[in-house]
């Protein structure tokens, strides 16, 4: 191929991407150059008869058509202002309903738990009242002394326990250092 102008400009000329001046110059060249004329005619013929939509195009199935038309038509309608508000309200209503249902269920469960605890305490107090009163026994001096000893023992025991506990805490460094020395 002696002329390589087609290689450089032919495709851009055919797609209309040359500027006006370049286009005119190239059109004039095509009329004069037999090689470029041949290339141009061949390409035009191919585009018309071989590369047409009838040859290269295809038709999707009716199901596919219907699905695309359905989704795209509905989808675009949803984007309009009024439909955004209605969508927002719809979603808010659903959220509110779910919240109320949840709140009611939790409230009911708490209420049931309270009810189930009440009879127990009622039964406890009932038992206490139901137990027959012990006959009053005369309190002797020896018994009183014994009770006093028991009380004193328990106080001492508690204070020892407390001291031990404090000691333990002390060891862990909870108390100030000067207390530790004491």
């Amino acid at each position: 191929m002696a002329c390589n102008l087609w290689e450089e400009m032919g495709l851009l000329y055919s797609s209309g991407e040359l500027n006006e001046q370049e286009g005119e110059t190239f059109a004039a060249h095509i009329r004069q150059c037999s090689e470029c004329t041949y290339e141009w005619e061949t390409y035009q013929h191919e585009r018309e008869h071989l590369f047409s939509i009838d040859i290269l195009g295809d038709t999707p199935s009716a199901t596919c058509d219907a699905e695309i038309l359905r989704v795209c038509s509905e989808g675009r309608q949803r984007v309009t202002h009024l439909s955004i508000i209605s969508l927002f309200l719809k979603k808010s209503a659903i959220s509110l309903a779910l919240f109320l249902i949840g709140f009611t269920v939790v409230g009911y469960l708490v209420f049931r738990a309270d009810l189930s605890e009440e009879p127990k305490t009622a039964a406890g107090t009932g038992k206490e009242t139901e137990t027959p009163a012990q006959p009053a026994t005369p309190v002797t001096e020896a018994a009183m002394n014994k009770q006093h000893d028991i009380l004193a023992d328990s106080i001492q025991h508690d204070s020892v326990n407390f001291a031990n506990r404090r000691g333990n805490i002390d060891l862990k460094g909870v108390y100030p250092v000067d207390l530790q020395n004491k």
């Binding site: 797609s15 071989l50 009838d54 195009g57 999707p60 695309i68 989808g75």
Partner: protein
């Protein structure tokens, strides 16, 4: 011819505006007008009808989602084919990940057929041309289809395919050369 294209663009933009306003007629006009081209592009690229239908749906759904990003300076068809190109790339990436070691090159071109030479009826010409296109290197095929089916200018093809304009032109030249060679082999001469 350019006036015709400009009128076409104006019609498309009118239909597109209707669609944006929620008028279903706007969308169905555009869909009916371009579905065969886009589907043809997808089926030629993937070679599988079912996949092409899935990608067609994805293309139009993506157009729906990104309708607000449509640049009025471009033609609607270029924009739509840009989306179809992205869907195709995503599909091929997915296929590559799924079957990296499978030799599915043969199956990938489902429409490829080895027909015995018969009388060149329209159906046969169609099949031969489709075969010749299927034989192309994927990058050449894509430039060819974007140019011939969507009428996308080379400047935009370069943007869509993220390559210099000269690369797009080079691929187109090679595509035409290879198609002609293949057609000649099967008994069809350009002119």
């Amino acid at each position: 011819m350019q006036e015709l294209m400009q009128n076409n663009n104006e019609d498309d933009q009118g239909a597109f505006d209707l669609w944006l306003k929620g008028d279903t007629k706007g969308f169905s006009t555009l869909y009916e007008k371009y579905k065969n081209r886009v589907f043809g592009f997808l089926i030629r690229m993937t070679g599988n009808r079912e996949i092409a239908e899935d990608l067609l749906q994805e293309t139009f759904f993506a157009a729906l989602r990104n309708a607000d990003q449509f640049d009025r300076g471009r033609s609607f068809l270029s924009w739509l084919f840009g989306i179809a190109h992205k869907r195709t790339i995503d599909y091929f990436r997915h296929v590559k990940v799924e079957s990296e070691h499978k030799e599915d090159a043969e199956n990938a071109v489902g429409s490829r057929i080895d027909r015995p030479d018969k009388e060149l009826s329209n159906k046969n010409i169609q099949a031969i041309v489709r075969d010749a296109v299927a034989e192309l290197d994927p990058l050449q095929r894509e430039v060819f289809l974007l140019r011939e089916m969507a009428g996308v200018p080379f400047k935009e093809i370069a943007v869509i395919m993220n390559c210099p304009i000269n690369t797009a032109l080079g691929r187109m030249r090679l595509a035409l050369k290879n198609i002609r060679k293949e057609l000649k082999k099967r008994g069809i001469d350009g002119v």
